[in-house]
Symmetry: C2
Subunit: 444 residues, 2 copies
């Protein structure tokens, strides 16, 4: 099962048969009178497979869900897609019937250009909430993006840039591995920096097993692969990968109306198709897990105002739900997050958050410790509810790196959970308080 | 039932037969080598009734719960108390057996001085977590406080100051009303500025009805009254008052290990004792509700770094649990709170938070509006999921006062809930990130 995984160049166009492009069509600043050419940040991306592909998706469980999400949920069910159009600058959320019409129109414009069925075109949006799409701009953007599709030397990077909102850098990866003697590749791009605590499911509906109220970015992720796989196996693999990556990150605890992960698998690697839980599946799963987790961590590291990234590991919980509740309580506590910003080990705030979480906790059994990202050499501040002999200086040192791990053992059972979390900084507050003299800084 | 309620001077010593004092005994800075006399902020308070009183209490439901809370839960059950000793600077939380010994010792020192049974002395603490109490200082503080009990001209105000931690001002109130032709008074003091989202119950155990995970300050509140009432009726009245006041506030969403509300009723007003739900009870309830709500709002207004106070009113929810979940999601959303700080009406973030809450929400039915604190003339930004014609300038104006109300109608049922909430500011982050060169700024 341990298959060699090589990092390769090329991002989403590393797998065979995929093309991409990114263009500027002035989606965000339209009509605000702020000088529309300013900056010219790319804002519309295309990802296209040369041949029809198998598709799987995961979508926000927010009950207030954007039009493009609704369109994708319906189309992904059919298991086939060939192209995706994505814009930044406008979330097309809370836009009513017009929003649904616009989302479908985006797919039909692209479908006509590429001579493919509209149902095999998907759509994603991120940006302001509650403003209808500037469709003339979007249309000219799609036409332009089709013209240059696959031609730009930086096609994948431009697509990755075009989906950014408050992100400071594009996020991308590609890996290669062998399956039945065939070379298979997976590529991915994603975006997201604020409104980040995704809780996604295959249909956008909340599975009963997901923690009550504990699901809370717009994050968008688009994965391409040339593996040959059927839709059911691809969906199973994606659910597993998202459960251990995007659904385990938080920047600010807010779940967006638009969170979406899509995978297109076009089969050009020509491996033998495999079934769920076969050895081939496990090899693919492991590679997909790696791609999703690396992309998810890039979102936390580039989160709005983030200075420190903390991996919260809860072990020894009675149930998985308990482990998840304790990890999320710590990862989203304003007081814990501000202490991380200060480089303050503050285990008092951590045990306080565990104590008010929905998890069963016994104070006298709790261990709390800190380690480097590799998880070795844990410095314990609390053992069985009692402060250890570690000095305040030692603890501060352990909580001072740009990335560290927080280890919480409840010592009540065997369940565990991890959250990839971030500190809360003045910069986050300043960035998100907006500027009421400039409405384009506001909204979703 | 509508009884005239007059505000009176005197705070907790306004009711007959109550004495108070506040002293400095250097609890916080002890042993830190920071120059212990610096500032001399009062840090130990006494509240004493001249005669034994009926008592009721509400306590944090945090599973990690401080020693003084454990002592009070046990003693309040017996329904009788005569004195309370309270310190700031140290929470006596996560201090194990020594903490329990110290909490009891505090009560026994005071009991010996006042010649009353130890079981009728209660204790409260707030401050750093995980540090044992500096008992020699505490003891000398109690002896000093007993000496000056009732003698200082500002006795109640000094008690209110002594319980402050990050509070910028003392919080106190007293009211007077008539019951069976007798003049009755209620006084109260409280403290709390950070780690504020209390969820208290009578025993510290979580009632099933309380929202899962939605319970999250140290806030302390001490109420005195000369009403004659039995313990059962007093506890019933306090639970009702806390449910609509302290359990409805949030500064940062973090529930403390120490949250406590205690009421001592010494009967010196000599009214006829009344039973739960009698007309006399209702008059008392109404006055107690007023005292608790005013004190609770003082906490939010003086919350750490708070610039704006927002009352979040959710109406038309399917169930009370839904109304509560929606109100808490909005009141604790980092993005909503930062937008309040900026004076940004940002209904997109608000509907996003409602949508990810545990409440049942239908986007096309949601109304969102803003009003002055009196709740009149609501300016709607969203009606049935659609933006209204209100202009961005008008909405900014409605969200610009230091205090305003946010109205959310789900239009799915008849249940409602309110949360008294605050913005999230750079000042909050800066204050709470601490200073790792000065351990006394850290901890709980």
């Amino acid at each position: 099962m341990k298959q060699k995984l090589n990092l390769v160049e090329g991002s989403i166009v590393a797998p065979q048969g995929f093309l991409a492009s990114g263009v500027f069509c002035d989606i965000k600043r339209l009509g605000t009178g702020k000088g529309s050419q300013k900056g010219k940040k790319l804002d519309l991306a295309l990802i296209v497979s040369e041949v029809p592909a198998t598709v799987a998706g995961m979508f926000t469980t927010n009950q207030v869900c954007a039009a493009p999400v609704k369109v994708c949920v319906e189309r992904v069910k059919k298991g086939r897609a060939q192209a995706v159009v994505v814009n930044s600058g406008n979330a097309n959320a809370c836009t009513g019937r017009q929003g649904m019409k616009d989302a479908r129109e985006m797919t039909s414009i692209l479908a006509r250009q590429l001579h493919m069925p509209e149902e095999q075109v998907l759509v994603g949006s991120t940006g302001r909430i509650g403003v209808t799409m500037p469709m003339p701009n979007v249309k000219s953007g799609i036409l332009h993006a089709v013209q240059i599709l696959g031609n730009a030397p930086r096609q994948a990077e431009e697509a990755a840039e075009a989906i950014m909102t408050s992100d400071t850098k594009p996020k991308q990866i590609a890996v290669e591995f062998m399956l039945d003697g065939k070379k298979v590749r997976i590529g991915g791009i994603c975006k997201g920096a604020g409104m980040i605590q995704p809780g996604m499911s295959a249909t956008g509906a909340r599975p009963a097993a997901l923690p009550h109220g504990g699901l809370h970015a717009t994050m968008l992720c688009f994965v391409t692969t040339d593996v040959a796989i059927d839709a059911k196996a691809l969906q199973a693999a994606l659910q597993e990968a998202v459960a251990h990556s995007f659904n385990r990150i938080t920047v600010d605890g807010d779940m967006s109306t638009n969170d979406t992960v899509l995978v297109l698998a076009n089969g050009l690697a020509a491996n033998e198709k495999f079934r769920v839980q076969s050895s081939g599946f496990k090899v693919f799963q492991s590679a997909l897990n790696h791609v999703c987790l690396e992309l998810a961590k890039m979102i936390v590291r580039d989160g709005e105002g983030v200075h420190r990234v903390v991996t919260v590991r809860v072990n020894g919980a009675k149930t998985i739900q308990d482990a998840d509740a304790a990890a999320r309580a710590v990862a989203n506590s304003a007081l814990v997050k501000t202490s991380w910003h200060g480089g303050d080990p503050n285990w008092g705030r951590i045990i306080d958050a565990i104590g008010y979480s929905a998890a069963t906790v016994v104070e006298e059994k709790v261990d709390i410790g800190y380690s480097a990202p590799n998880g070795e050499k844990i410095l314990w501040s609390l053992k069985r509810g009692h402060p250890t002999k570690a000095t305040f200086r030692e603890l501060c040192l352990a909580a001072s790196p740009k990335e560290f791990e927080l280890h919480i053992k409840l010592n009540l059972g065997k369940a565990c959970a991890v959250m990839y979390a971030a500190d809360l900084t003045e910069h986050y507050v300043d960035f998100n308080k907006g500027d009421v003299t400039d409405p384009t800084t506001l909204g979703g």
